[in-house]
Symmetry: C2
Subunit: 211 residues, 2 copies
DNA sequence: GGCGTTATCTGAACGCTGTCAAGATGATCT
DNA sequence: AGATCATCTTGACAGCGTTCAGATAACGCC
């Protein structure tokens, strides 16, 4: 979340850790000026090196953006962990995951956009999603399992529930800021009430089994 | 869907209908070469005019893309109308809307991306969504109302249902092509079965009231 | 019909971009 | 100390969005 140190003045000829510095510079530009300003040359400028320097650490711009996206997914993993830790019951944890997901997207809009732009280009979520137990995906799956009672659900059921929840959260994350919804938000009592209402409506919290 | 005539050879100095031709050229490039190839200069080339010609019809590239997106939303309206017409019961209509929406995104991926990229920049869906009764949004709302029985739901309930369904469909549309889901798709019996399962799971068809 | 006005289109230019090849620099290893 | 090798810079290229002066022709008015 914060290897974002300012660019070093009086830098020696060899930077030392340019790769990390470039990713940090890219994230700084994303936060301060938005995705449109994120050119490879601007990143190099921000890091205080020449426009060609990044090519010694990344094959092309795309590869740099993938490193940025990777940090984004890790930050999302952390946000999900935190959201889950703050809630007491399984049901509350599920709610917290959904709301936390949307808040993450709202608070890091440019980063979130880079993350999904890369994913759409590859037609896949990052690989670690399926594997690392701390990944956001696995945390959603585990939280769904926590809430399961009675007969053990099939793997297919669990995966379906996880994917459905993820689609709902992503759709809401991309659209919850749209102006069309401001009236409804107020009618429901604010941003968070709106998010909870939509997520509840989508059955995110009432599936697989009971409470 | 098809004002996409080939570029006119031996064109006179004044084109006659360059504005329409430019939008058509842009859609042709989107379909054939994808969103990355959609430069203003490429559109002008495709239309057979100089790089500066578009500026007499559009303020900038963004305005051209908005015209393209506008045609995209109209095409989506038409797809929703068709999906609804092909189904008999209200419940089937709702299913058909969801599946049809995702298919539209799958069949016009570049166009769909332009549509939502513009929307995110404006933080709003197109204006006509709220107004024109043929708009995709109003068709979803009306189909939800069709299925309502018993006490009349409040406006808030209806709007919430509509938005929730839209978020679910959009999320699924953006992610259904991801490689992570291929195994589940096969396990469920193919693409459409997968889409139906996720949409059903999201309660898209079981809310507001009964059948 | 002829003429001026105006919309439309071209050509050339500017600064920006991503990328690459050739050369400068300096850390590391022997 | 000297050679090697990764790292960084300089300079270049094509392509981009955009602007501006000038060419072209359609249109309205006499």
């Amino acid at each position: 979340m914060d290897n974002l140190a300012a660019p070093a003045e009086n830098r020696p000829y060899h930077h030392g850790d340019l790769r990390r510095a470039l990713v940090a510079a890219a994230r700084r530009i994303l936060e301060n000026e938005g995705p449109a300003a994120l050119s490879l040359r601007a990143v190099a400028r921000e890091a205080g090196v020449s426009p060609a320097a990044p090519y010694h650490h990344f094959k092309d711009k795309n590869e740099l953006l993938e490193a940025v996206a990777h940090e984004g997914w890790e930050a999302l993993d952390a946000a999900m962990t935190k959201a889950r830790a703050d809630a007491k019951t399984p049901r509350e944890r599920m709610t917290a995951l959904g709301v936390g997901y949307v808040y993450f997207a709202r608070d890091n809009p440019a980063l979130y956009r880079v993350m999904y732009d890369r994913s759409r280009d590859k037609d896949a979520l990052p690989d670690h999603m399926n594997k690392s137990p701390d990944s956001a995906y696995c945390q959603v799956r585990d939280t769904i399992l926590e809430r399961t009672s009675g007969d053990a659900p099939t793997d297919i059921d669990v995966e379906l529930s996880t994917i459905a929840a993820w689609c709902a959260a992503h759709g809401l994350a991309e659209m919850s800021g749209f102006k069309q919804f401001t009236a409804l938000k107020e009618a429901l009592g604010g941003e968070e009430a709106f998010l909870r209402a939509v997520l509840e409506h989508l059955g995110m919290f009432a599936r697989v089994n009971a409470d």
